[in-house]
């Protein structure tokens, strides 16, 4: 009885999460229709104005409309988060699939490397960003991905090691199907659930890490901005010019919360026991 309740409630969180994200997506995709301003054009005479009818969320140090900046910043945040997650998931899935499949020494060595990668201090992102000459968006995406694929690899590996011994896989092997076919056509659809859940959690993580990189001044380079950099731009006078950082912070908060809700909902949906 209790279980049923949980399910229905989690379904609710899934719906709520989707709703929130849909709203945010609408905002960043078609929000530009609502604003007459350009996110890059400066108007130094109107710098640091508080919210008003002409500038709904005020202006920043260069007189740029914060509302407009949020729309474009959101696009960049989403692009970075989604691409970094995709790359991380692809790497993690491939590593997980093949280590579990081939097993033996290969598995042993690769998993040791995964251990190393997991133990790597996160601060190395900083080192690498600055070492590789500043943060272009591509570099950010790759670095964020590089530091996030390991969990997925572990999850996939564990799942594949289980599925590998299931009869359907053995039958497929016995009928002479190729490794790639078995891994991607047979096993992967069965483990996609946990992978998707881990992807959702990765996105939340990457959005937050990206915003903390901005705190260290290593985020997206001006004049472009992500929500993290906008949040950071308000740091000179966070109480006086609250309208710079608060909306960006709220955007991050709401987006990450939306993903978290979806993650919770999906985790329940892909409950491993549901298959049985």
């Amino acid at each position: 009885m209790n279980n049923l309740h949980t399910k229905s409630k989690m379904g609710g969180s899934l719906r709520a999460g989707c709703g929130i994200l849909l709203f945010i997506l609408l905002f960043i995709l078609i929000g530009r229709l609502l604003t007459p301003y350009d996110h890059l054009s400066q108007n130094l005479a109107e710098a640091l104005e508080s919210p008003s009818r002409s500038h709904w969320l005020g202006t920043d140090h260069y007189g740029r409309d914060i509302f407009t900046r949020l729309i474009y910043g959101g696009q960049l945040t989403w692009i970075i988060a989604i691409f970094a997650t995709l790359i991380a998931i692809v790497i993690g899935t491939l590593v997980g699939l093949f280590t579990a499949w081939w097993g033996g020494w290969f598995d042993l060595i690769v998993m040791r490397l995964v251990d190393v990668a997991l133990a790597f201090p996160r601060i190395f992102i900083v080192l690498l960003v600055i070492g590789l000459g500043g943060s272009s968006i591509e570099l950010l995406i790759w670095l964020l991905a590089l530091f996030s694929w390991m969990e997925t690899a572990r999850i996939v590996r564990a799942e594949v090691s289980t599925h590998k011994n299931f009869a359907y896989v053995k039958a497929a092997r016995a009928s002479g199907l190729g490794t790639n076919r078995i891994l991607f056509r047979h096993i992967f659809p069965n483990i996609a659930g946990p992978v998707i859940v881990s992807a959702i959690l990765l996105i939340t993580n990457i959005i937050l890490v990206e915003s903390s990189l901005s705190f260290l001044g290593l985020g997206v380079q001006p004049p472009f901005a992500s929500w993290g950099t906008i949040l950071n731009e308000g740091k000179i006078d966070p109480l006086g010019n609250w309208w710079i950082s608060v909306p960006a912070g709220v955007c991050i908060l709401v987006t990450v919360a939306g993903f978290n809700l979806i993650g919770d909902g999906l985790r329940d949906l892909f409950d491993p026991y549901r298959l049985n």
Binding site: N2, N3, H5, T6, K9, S13, A100, G103, D107, R112, L113, D115, V116, L118, A119, F120, P121, R122, I123, F124, V126, L127, L128, I130, G131, G133, S161, K164, N165, T204, L208, S211, S212, F215, L216, G228, L231, K235, P238, L239, S245, G249, I252, L253, V254, T255, V256, A257, N260, L261, D264
Partner: protein, 327 residues
């Protein structure tokens, strides 16, 4: 058990070595030369080479690595900081002290808050309090850490002036009595501990809540209920014990992450921790300090994982290591 333990430790050594070697290479190949800090137009080539010699930068990379590794293994000597001339080991030890204090209390806070709310939510499943806790925790999981910190400082330190916003202790700390010292430290710790601990508490909360619900609905609990076993006994003896198990492995991940320093919290609250030390070292290309910190970080991660693993095995003997391929 001991031999298992020792063997596992031995098997961690290659991981450790790979990690450290890789870090060494990355750190040294990152562009920027520590000797650049001393650049000066009137510097003669002799001065330049004397500075490079002072830091051992005149040798080739493999030689530097060999020397460094030898000193670390035989003398536990990580070299002297290029930046301050202090022993890197001492730099890390000092930083570790405050990081340990901060991490410990953040962990305690997170465990208490996460577990108690988790149990509460599980027991009051689908009631208002459950929804409330759930949403609150999602809020804490989703808020960027430094923004939370800034807001806490803004509210409690600036607007209300209730709590100090920086450092571990007051300037006059040493003149206080023992009791006052404790309160002084506690006052300084509250904001950073909350900033660091809230997302952690949310993580613990989620684990505890879902495990608790799962356990409460499992057959043996239902059976125990049917047998008329005391409700509180069911809760504390069976359900809680089983729900706490995953926390152990979670701790194996969380503790080393805390120990390698929460850069943002430390910078924001001016705490002398490992994270801040490391970032400063990164910017000044202070190789010895960076390597000392990284080595320590690796050891912490590997040992904590191992300990969590072993604790898990002791607490829950059902866990067997599946050899991966069994018919």
């Amino acid at each position: 058990m001991l031999s298992v333990f020792l063997r596992r430790i031995l098997s961690l050594l290659p991981t450790l070595l790979i990690g450290i070697t890789l870090s060494f290479i990355i750190i040294h190949l990152a562009p920027g030369d520590p000797a650049n800090r001393f650049l000066n137009p009137n510097q003669t080539p002799e001065m330049q080479s004397s500075i490079r010699e002072r830091f051992g930068l005149d040798r080739s990379l493999p030689v530097q690595y060999g020397r460094w590794l030898k000193n670390v293994i035989f003398h536990l000597d990580f070299g002297y900081s290029f930046y301050s001339g202090k022993s890197s080991r001492a730099v890390i030890a000092v930083a570790l002290k405050s990081t340990a204090i901060l991490s410990f209390w953040a962990l305690v806070f997170a465990l208490i808050a996460g577990i108690s709310l988790g149990i509460l939510a599980a027991l009051k499943q689908n009631r208002f309090i459950d929804y409330f806790c759930n949403n609150l925790m999602i809020f804490f999981l989703s808020i960027p850490g430094f923004w939370l910190g800034l807001m806490l400082i803004g509210i409690f330190s600036i607007q209300l002036s209730w709590l100090p916003g920086a450092h571990l202790q007051s300037l006059y700390h040493h003149q206080l009595g023992p009791g006052a010292r404790f309160w002084d430290l506690a006052g300084h710790l509250i904001l950073p501990v909350i900033t660091l601990g809230l997302p952690l508490a949310a993580t613990f909360f989620k684990y505890i809540r879902s495990n608790m619900i799962e356990t409460l609905n499992s057959d043996y609990i239902l059976a125990a209920k049917a047998r008329g076993v005391n409700r509180s006994k069911i809760l504390w003896k069976y359900a809680l014990k089983n729900s706490l198990l995953p926390i152990i492995s979670l701790l194996g991940i969380v503790i080393p992450a805390l120990l390698s320093g929460a850069v943002i919290v430390e910078v924001l609250f001016a705490l002398p921790g490992v994270g801040r030390t490391m970032v400063t070292a990164v910017y000044s290309r202070d190789y010895p300090v960076l390597m000392a910190a990284v080595t320590f970080g690796f050891i912490a991660v590997l040992l904590c994982n191992l300990l969590a693993d072993i604790c898990y095995r002791i607490v829950d003997p059902r866990i067997q290591h599946s050899p991966g391929e069994i018919s």
